[in-house]
């Protein structure tokens, strides 16, 4: 890097701004865990008695556990399906010179920009016209649609990061395309695949807007929470549940980001 004095100099006002920004970003979310340990039903300062009761109650909350299992099912299927689609898509756009690459990529990335309500309503109409009843399957379909762009983006960085000559060497040594793919490409992009699976799982796990339109009688966890918000006396149990979901999301996303952002060359076999 060039030695530009004023850039290398630490900038104190901006540093303070950055800290304030992080506080603004994280503080609101931290109130949920804080009040989940509050014994009183209403959310209010000061917190007089601390308790773990709301967490203990969760284990006996059968509708909640059913919703959790639903969310896991949907998340696993959606993440595997969208990562599968993402691997092929990402390899195609990064490895081959395809005419019309830019418009194709923007079509695949479109669900990122289209408001969730539009996707939800449009898919609801399609499902209604085909005559399929709303269920966890229809939610999964919607989640695959929103997960593929993230999977593609994650895997594209991974494919761009590794040296094409590994694949060429394998081809020159006599492996056919399939074996090259399985024995060279997949091991190298493997961290990207794991990252994509984790990211898609958590996106599906936390997704509410599409599930709201496409869900039937079986709720996923966010739909369950939405239903509980109408009852003020169930607020503490929602807070405890929310805390668990937040912790899970943060852990999974940190792992997946770590896998993507790591230098691709450091773990080649």
């Amino acid at each position: 890097m060039k030695n530009v004095a004023y850039i290398n100099r630490p900038n104190r006002p901006l540093f303070i701004y950055a800290i304030l920004f992080l506080i603004f970003l994280y503080l609101p979310i931290l109130f949920l865990p804080l009040f989940s340990f509050n014994e009183a039903i209403y959310i209010a300062f000061p917190i007089e008695n601390w308790t773990l009761q709301w967490y203990r109650d969760m284990f006996n909350n059968e509708p909640m556990i059913a919703a959790l299992l639903n969310s896991i099912k949907v998340g696993v299927v959606a993440s595997v399906a969208s990562t599968f689609l993402g691997v092929f898509g990402a390899k195609a756009v990064t490895r081959y010179h395809i005419p019309g690459r830019a418009p194709i990529v923007s079509v695949i990335m479109a669900p990122l920009v289209i408001p969730g309500i539009i996707l939800g309503v449009a898919l609801l109409i399609l499902i209604n016209r085909i005559g399929v009843p709303l269920s966890l399957y229809t939610i999964t379909l919607g989640h695959i649609l929103v997960c593929v762009p993230f999977s593609m983006a994650t895997l594209m960085t991974r494919f761009e990061g590794f040296d094409k000559s590994f694949e060429e060497a394998s081809a020159d040594l006599g492996e056919n395309a399939w074996w090259t793919f399985w024995r060279v490409t997949i091991p190298i992009v493997f961290p990207g695949i794991v990252a994509s699976l984790l990211l898609c799982f958590i996106i599906s796990f936390d997704e509410f807007i599409l599930a709201f339109f496409l869900g039937g009688t079986d709720p996923t966890l966010p739909l369950f929470i939405w239903g509980q918000l109408r009852f003020p006396n169930r607020l503490p149990s929602v807070l405890a549940l929310a805390t668990c979901i937040l912790v899970l999301s943060l852990v999974v996303v940190v792992i997946s980001q770590y896998l993507v952002k790591r230098e691709p060359d450091s773990d080649t076999p």
Partner: protein, 313 residues
């Protein structure tokens, strides 16, 4: 090296005396990169195209139908659109949604820019950690992030009970929750992490020697920022505004949770058409009008900013 290998392959291919049409086809397929690429891409592209285009097409078709009880009257009519244009409530809600989104977009970009600037120019070690730290909340549950603001701004919420506990106010402030301002604050917080990345990327791309040149030619820090850094980072800013504005216009969770009756947005009305109002064709027409208006505004905005950037240059 690789080139010579391919050349040899091609020469061998040509030198071969006779080939069946099947092996010719295979040879063509193996050599044509684009064809291979498309084959590999087709499952993903087809799934995405099918699950976006078919539903949108159906939605457009349905918007020309009418609802009769639980069935649809499939005769073609413009009634839904006429109703939307002639009923002032619809356009009022749409205008309010656009204003709320515009305010939220502006706030988001203003807050995100200095942060992206700091990480792009002043963080040298552990850059990745900062980026992950800034974008992490975006991956957590949208519903819960919005719900947390209900906890903060509510009648018995964090701010009210905190201020009362300190003896600053006697009774809870009612203006905090259930109004458009609460919607703007909540949306800004929910989307700000999404705005940082495009701005950061465009700032990171700036050639540092340009800044050096500006300094050498006598620009102070402020002049340098407005004449070099800001214009060069505009593509990122434009991308961020579009990425925030378009989805937030269609948000219905935030207004439903913190908006109250005066903070309701067009998406709440669309949702109601598919729920309690039970008028799917009417809801489809509303959704299409919302998309058209948002698309139109985004197109004008992109056109204007491109024009402005060109004039600056």
């Amino acid at each position: 090296m690789n080139n010579s290998v391919t050349t040899i392959k091609v020469i061998k291919e040509i030198a071969r005396p006779y080939k069946s049409w099947r092996s010719r086809l295979r040879a063509f397929y193996n050599r044509s990169e684009a064809f291979k690429g498309y084959t590999l891409l087709s499952p993903t592209l087809l799934v995405m195209l099918f699950s976006m285009c078919v539903p949108f097409g159906l939605m457009v078709v349905m918007s020309f139908w009418t609802q009769s009880g639980y069935e649809f009257d499939t005769s073609f009519t413009l009634l839904n659109y006429e109703k939307i244009v002639s009923t002032p409530v619809y356009s009022q809600l749409l205008m309010r949604s656009l204003w709320i989104s515009a305010a939220c977009t502006l706030a988001t970009v203003l807050i995100a820019y200095p942060m992206a600037y700091y990480v792009a120019f002043h963080v040298h070690r552990r850059k990745m950690m900062w980026i992950i730290l800034m974008t992490l909340p975006f991956w957590t549950s949208y519903l819960l992030r919005i719900f947390s603001w209900k906890v903060i701004l509510g009648f018995n919420g964090v701010i009210n009970s905190g201020l009362m506990g300190m003896g600053i106010i006697d009774k809870p402030l009612e203006f905090l929750l259930y109004n458009p301002t609460a919607v703007v604050i909540t949306l800004t917080h929910a989307w700000v992490a999404f705005a940082i990345l495009p701005i950061y990327i465009s700032l990171e791309k700036i050639d540092k020697s340009l800044l050096e040149a500006a300094t050498d030619l006598g620009d102070g820090p402020i002049a340098r920022f407005f004449r070099v850094t800001l214009p060069l980072s505009l593509p990122g800013v434009i991308a961020a505004t579009i990425l925030i504005f378009v989805p937030t216009v269609g948000d219905y969770v935030t207004p439903a949770l913190v908006g109250g009756p005066n903070g309701l947005m067009i998406a709440n009305l669309i949702t109601a058409h598919f729920g309690i109002i039970n008028n799917w064709p009417g809801g489809s027409a509303l959704a299409i009008i919302m998309m058209l208006v948002v698309g139109f505004i985004a197109a004008i905005y992109i056109g204007l900013t491109r024009f402005a950037v060109k004039n600056i240059e």
